[in-house]
Amino acid sequence: MDQATQLEIDREKGNFRYETDYAFDAGVGLRPATVDYIAEVKGEAPWVREFRHKALKIFESKPMPTHWATKDLEAIDFSKIRYYLSQGQKPSRTWDEVPADIKKTFERLGIPEQERKFLAGVEAQFDSEAAYSRMKEGLSKLGVIFVGPTEGLKEHEEIFRPWFGKVIPTSDNKFSALNSAVFSGGSFIYVPKGVKVKQPLQAYFRINAENFGQFERTLIIADEGAEVTYMEGCTAPKFETATLHSAVVELVALKGAKIQYITVQNWSNNVFNLVTKRGLAHEESEIRWIDCNIGSRLTMKYPGVILKGRRARGEVLSIALANDGQHQDTGAKMIHAADETTSNIIAKSISVGQGRSTYRGLVQIPKHLKNCKNNTECDALLINANSRTDTYPAITVRGEGNSVQHEASVSKVSAEQIFYMRSRGLSEAAAMSLSVNGFINDLVREFPMEYSVELKRLIELEMEGSVG
């Protein structure tokens, strides 16, 4: 059979869109006036507006990081992007208040009614502004704050301001500066001392307007001994021109706290997904990123943990799947800044067709530290003859009793395995799919139930027709 027809994947599957009326629209392009407009609409305090303006200047002064990153970044035309859109609503508290057309989109997205009831404080983000958010009675009684950034900085300034922009400074990189200038939407979460949130907090992000970039801002603070899991899932309809998504996510785990942040990213493959994610782990705390990238045209995302307190622990578990026309440039950063800190990175990538997956890592242990440990494993699986994978880790170690190990391997699906399964009556595609799911199975198991099911389904979908 012809290779080209075999590789054809039905991209129309996610291609749906409903007409929406945008109550606020900052127009196309980025100018100081755009920033003023956003600040005005949101009714922000002067310090936030100033923060945005400063960020805009930094964004303009920073060059594209193309000396190490892909030249594909140059395809982004910042003057053709819409930086702010809103329904002009306050975040809704109950499902009934959510407009009917938005509900329709979510229905199509397949968030089951039961899941909505089960999962605590679901906040679904529709374009820039949270379309609806709801928190279980019990959670707010515990003192857990789960709001958008506008509300967070306005109503709970004393809680969020001290950490806002502190884990990821505006000048960290060009795209964190961009986000700092035009952010809207996202989640600000505060979990008080000793509170263990049993059910995961969840938000579905979604973009649904042509030429529209989404710049959500998330800040999660887990106070001493608190525990929280946050889930972020994405799906986007298909557009004709490239669109930009550039989020900033900051996590702060105070002494003994645990934060787990789970992402399933499935943007349509014309989206530039350039995200900065970093956690600050204090003494004996634990921050865990579970990151899964299936969609987008180009994803550049390296979740990091700054291990600031003694015995802090950081972990990144990452799965990437790159299909035709996709480049998954993902990885992890572990900055050890205290004694006896440990970190673990496990990254698995699958390249299908002409897809390209890249692992980029950074592990740093400076000289004054003792007994720090890092383990890094990255495995790549190549499905087709023209698939591509790259690995670029960077490891710096000094100090006493520190140890680092890094391993990477690249392999293909074993022909014997496929032959065996075929001899048992499975079709080649089914055998391949089974094999690929086996490759990532030990990581998928780390995901919450509903995500691992969704993930397996997504991977099967991507693998369809890739055998050749």
């Binding site: 960077a394 710096t396 170690v397 000094r398 009793g401 140890s403």
Partner: protein
Amino acid sequence: MSVTLAETPAPVAATSPALEAVFQAELAQAREPKWLADSRREAWTRANLDGKISESGIVVGKSDERWRFSGHKGWSLEGALRAKNKYAGKLPDIFAGGHPLDCAGKLTYADDILAAQTPVSAELARQGVIFLPLAEAIAKHPELVREHLFKHDHALGGGKFLALHQAYARAGTFLYVPDNVEVPATFFVTHWAATPGAALFPHTLIIAGANATVNFLDYFGSVNTTSEAWVAGAATIIAGSGARVFRKSVQNLNGHTLSYQDDTVICGRDSDVRNIAVHLGAQRARYESYSKLNGPGSNLELCALTIASGRQEFDQRTFQDHAAPRAKSNLLYKNALLDESRTIFAGMIRVEPGAEETDAYQQNRNLLLNPAAEADSLPGLEIQNQNVRCTHGATTSRLDPEELFYLRSRGLPKNTAYQLLVFGFFEEVIQRVENEALAELLRKLAREKFGK
């Protein structure tokens, strides 16, 4: 055989008139064939592009990924590029008192000037083996030299150094072993840095014909511990079909020397090439190793041992370029770090689309023996073919306290136990040289590093 003398040099835009004058003077004095003089002028222009060479040295781009983690001080060339005088003192014999090395031929240079020469035996000469000082080979075998000299350029970051090398390199070795000739004994070449402020550009060109066997040793050393020097060397190994080439190099320059070395290996069909490099000396040493597996079924082994002490910086960049199917490459770089030293290992395995059934391995092991030492590791993979097996591993750690405890529980004093473990770490590489005289020398040099 016609040798055209160099024409009057065309003016080039050099940053420094003094350096320009030295270059032109040496070029005129060398009386080289036109093709070579032209190539040197071209290289000199290339080295001077963007005005980044001057007496204050070569400036390295800060945002250049290929120089990531490297110290950003310029590579000072101060006083280095000037006319050389013959060194009158005595040159050390590195194998003195130890196991003698079985030599097929010997060349000794001091400050790029030929000091001693042992030609190959009449029998080898009869078989067509050519082992000559580079300048002599250019005069006697211009066609053969022209075919391979300065033909390989890569992008590992040291382009300026390589260009400077190509403009100046006249000292060194040309070795040609014809098809089906096997030479089990070692061709042994020594380059000494002698007078203070000398600039050395040692070159090694090894051409092994089909099914030929070659053993080669390059030794770079300093005659004293005080003289500053600037060394920019390059070696090219071209292995024909089924050739077996085993090259070893030892860099033991003194702690005031800046060293740049480029090793380029081109592997032909079914060839078997081994390149082992031992790095002990210099204040700052950059080593670039580019290997191209050009022939199907070729097999390459790259191995390095670095012992860093004081404030030494060793910067190693390697590239395993798999361009042909069924080739195999295996890299092992071991670094031991004492005091406030620093090592950087940046390795890359690239598998090109047509290179199916590639089997490539890359391993970096760093042993931190002092908390103030720093090891940077950048192991990389770029794979464009799915039918491959590629892995890399990098570890950095101190000595295993349990192993130390075990040895001490058997009655060994702490220092002895420590040394046993550290030297055990080196042995993996030392044993691979498969030459008793050299292994003994390496053990002695390693001990000297610890004796300070």
